[in-house]
């Protein structure tokens, strides 16, 4: 069984500047989504708050760690499958 999930990722050269590097294009894109009627896609307010739990942004090491979370048996996705398998 497949458990496909789409996550927006940006890998910057440095973690400290990664958010700022992708902020403009992501805000442009999600502003368009919000204009199309998706109410939870507006980036008004802090971009960092909006990006948290939605996107994976950082340097190479951070992004690698974040993606690996999807592989952990204790994460939410795994719990979901296990819960229904009992």
């Amino acid at each position: 069984m497949e458990f496909p999930i789409t996550v927006e990722c940006y890998v910057g050269a440095r973690h400290a500047t990664a958010h700022e590097e992708c902020r403009g294009p992501l805000e442009y894109k999600y502003a368009a989504y919000a204009a199309w009627g998706l109410q939870d896609r507006t980036t008004q307010g802090s971009f960092e708050d909006f990006a948290r739990d939605r996107f994976i942004i950082g340097d190479k090491a951070t992004v690698k760690e974040e993606i690996a979370r999807y592989h952990e048996p204790s994460n939410a996705a795994a719990e979901l499958g296990l819960r229904r398998s009992r």
Binding site: I5, T6, L26, D40, P73, L80, R84
Partner: protein
């Protein structure tokens, strides 16, 4: 980006989950960008992803996106297939209700042939009024059109001649000539975020395609409260993470 193909065990003896990394090709650009100049970059990105071990390529879809520019994905997927040997290709997602499922089934069969049986059809309901208005389809009919369309497409892929007289679509003793490589046709991944859409995905899809743009925590919380999982006896064999490359317009 990296690929971790190691397997982990998740609580059931003999059952394992594998993380598969995929790439959603960036296909959205602001007004004024020259798309023609971006085609070589797109091909280079596909080859780099293939060589790095990414398992699949996915393509976002909309109509009438002005001022944002989006390429139409069916011709793009056919073009990209030539540069993505061995990779799975599919839309994430194709908006199905405004389209005739015969047309979608035919194109999916062709793409399955072009990819050597590696096509996956990701579909969703859509939500934008201008898109439905343009095709002359009522937004209120999107769910029943979606359900009937999937049923009809699966019959067209797996049967010879089909007779179907539904609420929206009719096929009179006819069949598609080119069958998909994969018996029964490509898997259908169904996207959805509302509770009813997630239940529909579990009922009629081969997988629920999760778009986490509303937040992974929120998505998973909803799953827990709904107790939804497509296969009540199963555990996920694969967690396919589709890495949508965040746009960087200056790159």
């Amino acid at each position: 980006m990296y690929i971790d193909s190691s397997k982990i065990r998740i609580n059931q003896p003999g059952r394992a989950a594998r993380l598969i990394l995929c790439l959603e090709l960036h296909a959205q650009f602001p007004e004024g960008f020259n798309f023609a100049q971006r085609v070589p970059e797109m091909v280079a990105q596909v080859r780099a992803a293939r060589d790095a071990g990414f398992a699949s390529l996915w393509f976002p879809h909309h109509w009438l996106t002005h001022p944002m520019q989006m390429l139409q994905i069916t011709p793009v997927m056919g073009f990209i297939a030539a540069h993505a040997e061995g990779m799975t290709i599919g839309p994430n997602i194709l908006i199905l209700p405004p389209l005739n499922p015969v047309h979608v089934a035919e194109e999916a069969a062709t793409l399955d042939v072009l990819t050597g049986g590696n096509y996956v059809l990701g579909v969703g309901l859509g939500y934008r009024q201008p898109e439905f208005d343009a095709f002359g389809i009522s937004l209120s009919e999107r769910a029943p059109r979606f359900n009937e369309g999937i049923t009809l497409m699966r019959r067209l892929w797996s049967e010879g001649r089909v007779s179907h007289k539904g609420r929206f679509y009719t096929v009179n003793d006819a069949g598609i000539g080119v069958k998909p490589v994969r018996p029964g046709g490509p898997p259908i991944y169904v996207a959805g975020q509302a509770d009813v859409s997630v239940r529909r995905a579990a009922r009629i899809g081969d997988a629920w395609l999760i778009v986490s743009t509303s937040g992974l925590g929120k998505v998973m919380s909803r799953c827990r409260t709904q107790g939804i999982w497509p296969d009540p006896d199963g555990v996920p064999d694969h967690r396919r993470v589709l890495c949508r490359r965040a746009p960087c317009h200056g790159a």
